[in-house]
């Protein structure tokens, strides 16, 4: 906040004092018009006009295609590349927030030597000199290569005189690769064809969050799982923990931590018995019969047989394993077991297909251990680290932080982190938005990463690869065959690709087409695979985590913060975790039964102590966790990652021993934690008022059985007789548009990408933890999470809640100044500059979707450069809310007008709809009976008709948003149930 009597403040005082002064005089200070010196000439440039560039999202190694909207040469919105086969236009929350990687105020702004600012020249010289002296003893620690950068680095290390390259990715798929190698002789990650499966058995993998490509997984999963034509395929979550992924499951089978493999084999045993395939496994599987494993896994034999029966009936089956929660020391064995289950049930080459390719070998966490010992032994003289953050992410007991003190560390990172804090020399790198690159996330997909804008002016940074080229060329002029920058190197690579493709165009044309499309997308080629006979050698046993003293610690990945790289992005901190609804914090998920036994209340501060460390965090009651386990999400507890990340929550990695599985991957699960109550109350902020919806049908659900009998509930959809005629009978109204939306709750999985997209599109300020605590968060769309039922038989429902653009809105009539009214296109118009700020509209909004600007919120530079310049950024004292992205409607209308036509269906996408990975949101013109939204909202498609409902329809606000009920395969006890007390004995059936 600005202090003192600024002009605006003066204006306020004067304005309050005398109205005449405001009317008559008191002009604002004139604004300055700063023209460009030279207009860009390489392409036609028009100010205040959006230009889209195709590039690749580099927030995780899933490498989705991205389309970045820039205005005035500033990237303002990230969207998925609609041409890209993996994400098909959608992006996850992290991808949406990648803009804040670009504009993050805690980016390195200049080179640092031992924490002091130095000029670039000096930094580069120092780096060159070091490289020269350290030749042969150089180590490059970086994110695993997804594109050409691997080759580049290898070439660079060679040119620099040799050294080694170690990959670091906390959430790696190495165990999976290893398991596939054992089971199928294929060291690769296969394609999971969710949509082809009839039943999914998920062994603790969080495939909607961080496992694989969550955007692609979510879409394909929704295609499989969503209710279609009277049918719904099932998804069973077999895990000690219910994550966001588990919340989408039709059933949760509680197993003891680490026993996923046993359950998988037991199911496989039953299936093998039934279908008689893979006879060589018969003896092997017999030892894992349901009866044998029942005690160790905590799942009854009948339950396992039941699952097997379902798999046989509803196949093809897709069994998925992996992720943190099953990452014990035996995670490779567990995954082999899952592979056996897939093979035995015949999923192989149907729902689980291997690409016809040889995957690049990635180094493992164990290689890191080698690196650490090399460092300790002084064998490494120069350690180069990119944007990865091992100092934060590795368990301290591995001794990485101490080891790097024994060498010279050069950090080529863009973001401040614990690692760059330890680095001797920091040479700031550009982000993916400002530099060249590419990614080959899977067979047939070659994605280009191009700079969508020149470097952000407040940061004096250079492209990482260019720094490296510059350095090595100062030693050896002939290195990189004279390519002066990474673009040349990349173009060499891509001309090779062009030749491989047999493309006969000139490279120039080829390159332009690549930039236009964002890459090359070919259909993947698959190779037939068979289960190796060697699998019988794999022994799967229980890690015996239950029944010991203490509770098994399950470090879970965070959907928003990832492995911690998201923590410095305000949006990702501000958007509540969809499961816990907690913001800006860490928490310990604990089963209420266990907690009450230990005398720990919800939201109490507890100390979690393992032999390797202890942390204090808030207890969060979660039905979805095994009674002998606790779960702590990763990603928080930073110390040197910038203002937004530092000091919030705790780092769960500090509790881990740093042990490995057979693939050399970190084993996350296996340590027992002691809990101690520290304080009854904690300052943990969650945005949900109440976890229960009290039968109010806000996030409504129905069951497949119910839908099979439409006569039971057909009458519920009749509209009441109106006293007043419909607004559409007013002259000029709803002609030709009446904007509407449908949200399919059966497809929605609560991933919150829409929430972040809305923040990005609509200049929504981030208010921080303290203000969120008193309800000042500004999100226009919120992911409501409701819990139904008790104990293990609970259900989590998600419902995106945004302005319903009501026909008979409660908010409009109470506004004294017409700042909100019903617009001829059916929008509930909110005119910010007319708003006086009585907040009556917010009171009278039953959906509570209006947000008030309690302060003049700041967008600390350079985050302000991200602000969407096609809409107004609101000032203090003004109400705001979702507008159905009216700026997009307006822009599209202007464009259509230039073509002398009206808007066509699908021409306007709201930001939330655009980014939804599961395509749960449909938006369009309700007056056009042919439009998609009309078809799903206007009670025509039988598929949807019985699921349509309006939230709080009895108020007759006539919302323009129609929700489609979630479809369950079972009944869950609601809050009104008489069996309310059953949660006390829920232990018995657990």
């Amino acid at each position: 906040m600005k202090k003192g009597l600024s002009r605006r403040n003066l204006f306020k005082y004067v304005g309050a004092g005398s109205a005449t002064a405001v009317v008559a005089g008191c002009e604002n200070k004139p604004e300055k018009l700063i023209p460009m010196l030279v207009p860009p000439t390489d392409y036609e440039y028009t100010p205040q006009t959006a230009y889209q560039y195709m590039t690749t999202c580099r927030e995780c190694d899933a490498a989705c295609g991205m389309m970045v909207t820039t205005r005035e040469h500033r990237a303002q919105k990230a969207e998925g590349n609609p041409n890209h086969p993996l994400n098909q236009g959608a992006l996850c929350a992290k991808g949406q927030a990648s803009l804040q990687t670009l504009y993050n105020p805690s980016r390195h702004a200049y080179p640092l030597a031992d924490g002091k600012k130095i000029p670039w020249q000096e930094g580069l010289q120092q780096f060159s000199a070091l490289t020269q002296t350290a030749a042969g003893a150089i180590a490059y620690l970086g994110k695993p290569a997804v594109g050409s950068e691997g080759d580049f680095l290898d070439e660079w290390l060679q040119a620099a005189g040799g050294g080694k390259r170690v990959d670091f990715e906390l959430l790696s798929q190495n165990s999976q690769v290893e398991a596939n190698q054992i089971a199928f002789n294929r060291a690769d990650v296969p394609e999971y064809a969710f949509e082809k499966a009839g039943l999914i058995l998920n062994f603790s993998a969080d495939f909607l969050e961080t496992w694989g490509n969550p955007v692609e997984n979510a879409r394909r999963f929704a295609d499989m799982h969503a209710y279609q034509k009277g049918n719904k395929n099932k998804f069973v979550h077999i895990s000690p923990h219910v994550s966001l992924t588990g919340a989408k499951a039709d059933r949760w089978v509680v197993i003891n931590p680490g026993t996923e493999g046993l359950v998988a084999l037991a199911i496989a045993a039953v299936i093998q018995q039934e279908n008689g395939s893979h006879t060589f496994l018969k003896a092997y599987l017999e030892s894992y019969s349901p009866e044998n494993v029942a005690e160790e896994t905590g799942v009854s034999a009948e339950a396992i047989r039941g699952l097997a029966k379902e798999a046989l009936e509803h196949g093809p089956l897709l069994a998925i394993g992996g992720g943190n929660v099953s990452a014990t020391k035996q995670s490779v064995e567990t995954l082999v077991a899952v592979n056996i289950l897939n093979a035995v049930s015949g999923a192989l080459d149907k729902t689980l297909r291997f690409y016809n390719q040889t995957a690049v070998k990635k180094s493992t966490h164990q290689d890191l251990l080698e690196l650490i010992s090399d460092l300790d032994a002084g064998k490494i003289k120069l350690l180069i680290i990119d944007d990865s953050n091992p100092v934060y992410a590795l368990p301290p007991s591995m001794g990485f932080a101490e080891a790097i003190k024994k060498t010279f560390v050069v950090s080529l990172a863009s973001q401040k982190s614990e690692t760059t804090h330890e680095a001797n020399l920091v040479l700031p790198a550009l982000t993916a938005y400002e530099s060249w690159g590419d990614a080959f996330p899977r067979s047939g997909v070659k994605s280009i990463q191009q700079p969508v804008m020149s470097a952000v002016n407040t940061f004096d940074a250079k492209a990482r690869e260019d720094i490296l080229i510059n350095t090595v060329q100062s030693i050896d002029k002939t290195a990189f065959s004279g390519n002066s920058n990474y673009l040349d190197f990349l173009q060499d690579k891509w001309s090779k690709i062009q030749r491989e493709l047999g493309d006969t165009r000139s490279f120039e044309n080829f390159w332009i087409s690549i930039l236009e499309n964002g890459g090359i997308y070919e259909k993947p080629k698959f190779a037939r695979t068979a289960l190796s006979r060697k699998v019988t050698a794999v022994k799967v046993s229980s890690p015996e985590l239950v029944g010991q003293e203490g509770l098994t610690l399950l470090p879970t990945t965070s959907l928003l913060l990832g492995d911690g790289s998201g923590a410095n992005k305000p949006w990702l901190q501000e958007v509540p975790n969809p499961m816990s609804q907690i913001v800006w914090d860490s928490w310990v998920e604990i089963n209420p039964d266990t907690a009450q036994k230990l005398g720990i209340n919800d939201r109490a501060i507890i100390e979690v102590k393992t032999p390797h460390g202890s942390v204090q965090a808030t207890a969060y009651y979660h039905f979805g966790i095994h009674r002998d386990a606790i779960a702590i999400p990763m990603g928080q507890g930073h110390q040197h990652s910038g203002e937004v990340a530092d000091g919030f929550g705790i780092n769960v990695m500090q509790l881990l021993p740093g042990e490995f599985d057979n693939a050399g991957n970190l084993s996350f699960v296996g340590v027992q934690a002691e809990l101690k109550l520290i304080n009854e109350k904690s300052y943990t902020v969650n945005t949900d008022g109440n976890a229960r919806q009290l039968g109010r049908e806000i996030a409504a659900a129905t069951t497949v059985e119910e839908l099979a009998h439409p006569e039971n509930h057909g009458s519920a959809h009749k509209r009441p007789t109106e006293f007043y005629p419909d607004r559409s009978e007013t002259a000029g109204y709803y002609k030709p548009y009446r904007w509407g939306m449908t949200i399919d709750l059966d497809r929605c999985n609560g991933c919150s990408a829409c929430v972040v997209a809305c923040y990005a599109e609509n200049n929504i300020p981030v208010v921080g933890k303290i203000r969120t605590a008193i309800g000042r968060e500004m999100s226009w769309i919120r992911m409501e999470r409701y819990i139904e039922g008790y104990g293990d038989d609970f259900e989590t429902r998600f419902s995106p809640m945004l302005c319903q653009q009501c026909g008979n809105a409660g908010c409009e009539t109470v506004c004294p100044v017409y700042a909100t009214y019903h617009n001829p296109e059916g929008l509930n118009a909110m005119i910010y500059n007319r708003c006086v700020g009585t907040r009556y509209c917010s009171n009278n909004c039953a959906y509570k979707v209006r947000r008030f600007n309690w302060f003049n919120y700041e967008f600390p530079a350079p985050l302000d450069q991200q602000l969407n310049s096609t809409i107004t950024t609101r000032e203090v004292g003004v109400m705001e809310k979702c507008t159905f992205c009216v700026q997009r409607i307006k822009t599209a209308k202007y464009d259509a007008k230039d073509l002398s036509r009206d808007l066509e269906d699908g021409e306007v996408l709201t930001a939330c709809q655009q980014t939804c990975p599961t395509k749960a949101i449909t938006f369009g013109n309700l007056m056009d009976p042919e439009s998609k939204v009309a078809k799903s909202a206007l009670r025509e498609t039988a598929d949807k008709r019985d699921r349509q409902y309006e939230v709080l329809a009895e108020l007759n606000y006539k919302p323009a948003i129609t929700y489609l009920k979630k479809v369950n395969t079972r009944e869950v006890l609601g809050h009104n149930s008489e069996n309310h007390d059953s949660h006390q004995n829920s232990e018995n059936h657990g």
Binding site: Y724, D726, R727, T730, Y733, C806, G807, N808, A809, G810, C811, E812, T813, C815, Y818, T820, Y821, H822, K958
Partner: protein, 172 residues
């Protein structure tokens, strides 16, 4: 203001004042009475005079009512901004405005009217400067002012004295 010709007297007692009033009226002259507080006795003695203040209130109340309905109706139709599916010109909510403006207009004009009438009457029925400046009329004394021709001055002076006036002033 024409020059005042007449008699005015100061009384201490109400009964003497009313007595005087009645006697003066018998002489065919309507006196002006000054009193520290309103007394029905005086009104009775003066023959129950009336006032047009209620008519002012009624007229302006009606005007306020008209404005109270027509202003919202006109403004709502001048730029049609539909809210909450309600009729553009909605009578029930406008009734509140109509009611409030009825009261407001009636009240303002009642006050203005009675003040103005008081001032007009002070021109119509002038009282001499001496009576105006006599401070005890507002405190505890009654005054009777008789405007008459010079020929009758003496008659009234005697009448007042007889009725126990404290002071009798004759103005020519």
């Amino acid at each position: 203001m024409s020059k005042f010709t007449g008699v005015w007297a100061i009384f201490e007692y109400l009964d003497e004042t009313t007595e005087t009033i009645e006697q003066v009226r018998k002489e065919g002259v309507q006196p002006t009475v000054i009193s520290p507080c309103p007394r029905h006795e005086i009104d009775h003695a003066l023959g129950e005079p009336t006032t047009i203040v209620p008519w002012i209130a009624l007229a302006f109340g009606a005007l306020g009512c008209f404005i109270g309905y027509s202003l919202p109706a006109w403004t709502a139709s001048d730029w049609v901004l539909p809210v909450s599916g309600k009729p553009i010109v909605a009578i029930p909510p406008f009734t509140i405005i109509g009611f409030e403006l009825t009261i407001l207009f009636a009240a303002i004009h009642t006050l203005a009217g009675l003040a103005l009438l008081g001032i007009i009457d002070s021109f119509r029925f002038p009282i001499p400067k001496g009576a105006k400046d006599y401070p005890r009329f507002q405190r505890d004394r009654f005054g009777v002012v008789v405007r008459c021709e010079e020929s009758k001055l003496e008659e009234f002076e005697n009448l007042m004295k007889k009725n126990g006036a404290e002071e009798v002033h004759v103005e020519k």
